[in-house]
């Protein structure tokens, strides 16, 4: 983070999500239904591709392809190739497609639509519909993409991704779970809760853990593989929970970055670990190291609340997007 260089673009609509394809193409999903695409190293403004009739609500890189899958409030699940070609994978009329996953390790795509998670094959064919009692508020897969975790009211459900009929393993914990993540070693599932805390389960023995003390809801969680921490938004600094060894129980979290008047609204972790990007509600982006707790500002205030952050696959740059429609890339991270 010696001399970071910021390139930013005004995209005229709130940024909903960011993703890098494995080839380094950046996609910026926007509230006006467009996807803005930027090839690696491209200097001009990203090219807008009309994808949804409404707002894009979620996005993920489409496996290892140079492509993205997006969900919108028009009920559409779309695929957009890095060259801008748009295709519709499926449509659920009158519904919102709120969460999507297409893991490199898997041969499927998963889309959360209301109370169901729809599993689709790479060829676009429906595989299975995973029904829930209430709305699915978050989805995550384990490292091998064999299992899928879904967050909902009163707990998290674990499913197999083979696409066959099944009953989930439900891990109950009272309250509304609004997001979920699976640890890179496959050992832990951690959910964010409406009650401004996190809940974790160690899968080997089913033990519970509570991570609390946040003044806000936790909207972003990112795993640093080495050192092994879970970085989170929701406080005035980045709160990182230690997951090495016996897990975070009884250990204080590491707090990183700057305490600002507002709060950390987004976090992302470097693919190799240690370096955490933090976005604040005043538009600041900072980079911080877990190992030595050093931090540096890489983007000044302004342009609106940081909604999303993502590291490029090579770890050399980090992209940001704001609620007011500013997006950009910070090179030399």
């Amino acid at each position: 983070m010696a001399d970071p260089h910021v390139t930013a673009w005004e995209l005229d609509a709130p940024v909903a999500a960011l993703a890098f394809a494995r080839d380094g193409t950046l996609a910026i999903a926007l509230g006006d239904g467009n996807l803005a695409l930027r090839a690696p190293g491209e200097r001009s403004s990203p090219k807008k591709i009309q994808t949804h009739d409404g707002a894009v609500l979620c996005m993920a890189a489409d496996g290892g392809d140079a492509a993205f899958v997006t969900g919108g409030d028009d009920g559409k699940l779309a695929r957009v190739a890095a060259d801008g070609a748009v295709g519709t994978l499926q449509t659920w009329k009158g519904k919102w497609v709120e969460h999507v996953l297409a893991p490199v390790a898997g041969s499927f795509r998963a889309a959360a639509v209301g109370k169901a998670v729809h599993m689709l094959g790479r060829d676009g064919k429906p595989l299975a519909t995973l029904e829930h009692q209430g709305t699915v508020a978050g989805i995550a897969v384990n490292p091998k993409a064999k299992r899928l975790a879904t967050a909902h009211y009163n707990g998290v459900s674990l499913w197999w991704t083979h696409g066959r009929e099944q009953k989930p393993k439900v891990m109950n914990w009272r309250g509304s779970h609004i997001g979920v993540t699976w640890s890179p070693d496959g050992e832990y599932v951690v959910s964010a809760m409406q009650d401004m805390e996190m809940h974790g389960w160690r899968l080997s023995d089913g033990s519970d853990m509570r991570m609390s003390g946040y003044p806000m809801k936790i909207r972003a969680m990112a795993w640093s593989p080495q050192p092994y921490f879970l970085a989170t938004s929701g406080a005035d600094r980045v709160v990182c929970w230690p997951f090495a060894g016996a897990g975070p129980t009884g250990k204080p979290p590491v707090e990183l970055g700057y305490a600002r008047a507002g709060a950390v609204t987004s976090v992302a972790a470097h693919p190799k670990g240690d370096l955490i990007a933090a976005g604040y509600d005043d538009g600041v982006v900072a980079l911080a190291r877990i190992s030595n707790r050093e931090a540096a500002f890489v983007k000044p205030p302004g342009g609106g609340k940081i909604e999303a952050l993502a590291f490029a696959p090579d770890g050399k740059s980090v992209a940001f997007g704001t609620e007011d429609g500013l997006a950009g890339i910070i090179d030399g991270a």
């Binding site: 919102w96 009211y153 809801k217 008047a261 507002g262």
Partner: protein
Amino acid sequence: MSQTSAPQIPVTVLTGFLGAGKTTLLNRILTEPHGRKYAVIVNEFGELGIDGDLVVGADEEVFEMNNGCICCTVRGDLIRIIAGLMKRRGKFDAIVIETTGLADPAPVAQTFFVDDEVKGRARLDSIVTVVDAKHLPQRLKDSREAEEQIAFADVIVLNKIDLVSAKELREVESVVRAINRFAPIHKARECDVALDKVLDRGAFDLDRILQVEPDFLERQPEDHNHGHDHHDHGYDHDHDHADAPSVLRHNPEVTSVSLRLDKPISQQKFEAWFRRLLAAQGQDLLRCKGILDVQGLDKRYVLHAVHMQVDGKPTSPWKPGEKRLSRIVFIGRKLDAEDLRRGFESCAA
């Protein structure tokens, strides 16, 4: 959310029983020229016939919070939908939420007190309850929700008045007033109430409570004798038509208690009393609004509460020579007026 650049979007909540006329009112809000573009959140199983670009179906998912307050529930679907709608910012200026006929308005209102993201992006403007003048008596008999919807209202549209006699109308009005003492009542035929009486009321805006309804706490319940006369009539009426519903047989569980104190209030005493009151009776206290003359404070202290969620702050200054008074209204179940009065009076400095 100190740095949030976007203004908060006003949200109007529309409640009322199936058939009361919510959809009629909603369609008027969507079609009449008022210079505003609305996003509408409707319940999936509600009345049909709403069309528009930004109509979103909701599931009315009521979630309990783990914050130790048993009556604290929020609408999880609204939290998600409002966050999603904000991605379309600029495409609409305000939101209307239509609830199902059987919905309890408390979780909707509490969502705006409890959720940090919703609070940062949207503000509850008012709860509007459409009441069917003809069928209210029956609704009050067979459901608890009808009473709660009236109790929670900031504005009441007493609809279908053309379907009742003048006497029935007076009776219905007095029943509504007995439940909710502060909401203005607008009489309507086919929800033909002026939209500016319904929209942009600022009913939850502490700075506007006084401006919008300067006498909301002054308003007295319907003339007491008047009510009693009708009570007698009601019983007579029942003898003649045994199954004709009468509002007068409805003995409201929910009532309003309005209190005043012409001595300055000790903030410390008031806070202690109010905290104890909410802890003990928060589940039964549906709404509360108050304007207080606090000792040592040049400004009016304004507060409102939904169950145990309270918001309050000093607002406009008392004018020189103005008579300072403290006034507070409670709407709730099983209210002990005498106990509340004693408690409130014990807050005198």
